[in-house]
């Protein structure tokens, strides 16, 4: 495993659970202030997009899949951004948007998953399926995002 440091700006991080509830949405590019209604719409749109994309990708894959197999999505790209994606076997969905020239974000997504396990799942005060407001998680993610931008 390379000790190569990943360096990238992160625009937004999204976390959804299996049922489609948005557990976490945080923007890190500072300036764009959205009103709560816009944020709610974005939460739904992002999940809808990810869900539909997965259904679509699995429908047109040239490979013959078994009953249990699913084609995982790594990322999709536009001229303005890349949207990186990790779906766990437990249905948790992590999505991170970055500039279009970002490196492979697999390790970042896995790190976010591990942070989720350590600071959300293991916290007895957290109810599964509810919005994550735990300062432990929020701050560590913020620190990690800063780390990725500066190193």
């Amino acid at each position: 495993q390379g000790a190569e440091k990943i360096m990238t700006t992160i625009y937004t991080i999204y976390v959804y659970n299996r049922e489609g509830t948005c557990l976490f949405l945080r923007k890190y590019n500072g300036d764009s202030k959205q009103n709560p209604k816009e944020i709610e719409i974005e939460k739904k749109n992002m999940f809808g997009t990810l869900f539909t994309l997965k259904t679509f990708v699995n429908a047109i894959t040239p490979k013959t899949m078994d009953e249990w197999e699913k084609e995982p999505i790594s990322y999709f790209q536009t001229s303005q951004y890349q949207l990186h994606y990790l779906e766990t076997a437990s249905g948790l969905r992590f999505a991170v948007s970055t500039p279009p020239d970002a490196p492979n974000m697999g390790r970042v997504l896995n790190r976010l998953y591990k942070l989720y396990v350590d600071y959300v799942v293991r916290n007895p005060c957290y109810t599964l399926g509810s919005e994550i407001v735990l300062p432990g998680f929020v701050q560590r993610v913020e620190t990690y995002v800063k780390e990725l931008r500066n190193k």
């Binding site: 299996r18 489609g20 766990t88 799942v121």
Partner: protein, 157 residues
């Protein structure tokens, strides 16, 4: 764990109810434990039941209980057993005769059921053999009932 079970027996007075409550507790633990398991073991997908059984026995039991477990298959391909010795939960525990129907390790059955539920596998589990009751090893039988279809319950626009 022993203190917890003892308190539950005092509270519920009925061993059958204690068994059920232990299983339920285990289920709720399983719902959380699955993510720690998947994240630490780096597992992205469960491709089939054989793989799943292997992960539970060889990776899960090692990771969370520190013991090695074996998988044995029944003639029904939807049913397998996890067999293990040196269950840390029962260390220093003795089961009095009047509690012979207590399924002391039923928590583990619930954990397996909860964890598999989170990956869309609906199973039933049962503690078939127990070292605590004099068997040479402990055995948890897992039966696959169905693979839940993916459903989304978020509100539509």
């Amino acid at each position: 764990y022993g203190a917890l079970v003892t308190t539950m027996i005092k509270d519920f007075q009925d061993v059958k109810i204690v068994n059920q409550e232990l299983e339920k507790m285990g289920f709720n633990i399983g719902l959380r434990l699955i993510d720690e398991f998947l994240a630490k073991a780096g597992i992205t997908q469960c491709r089939n039941l054989k793989e799943t059984a292997h992960y539970i026995a060889k990776v899960g039991f090692k990771m969370f209980l520190g013991i090695n477990a074996e998988v044995s298959w029944s003639t029904d391909s939807r049913q397998f057993s996890v067999e293990f010795k040196n269950n840390p939960l029962i260390e220093f525990v003795e089961l009095p005769e009047r509690f012979k129907d207590l399924e002391y390790s039923n928590l583990l059955c619930g954990v397996i059921r909860g964890a598999l539920h989170s990956v869309n596998m609906i199973v039933t589990t049962a503690l078939k053999r127990s070292e605590l009751r004099g068997d040479p090893l402990s055995e948890i039988q897992v039966t696959l009932k169905e693979i839940a279809a993916e459903k989304v319950t978020a509100e539509d626009d």
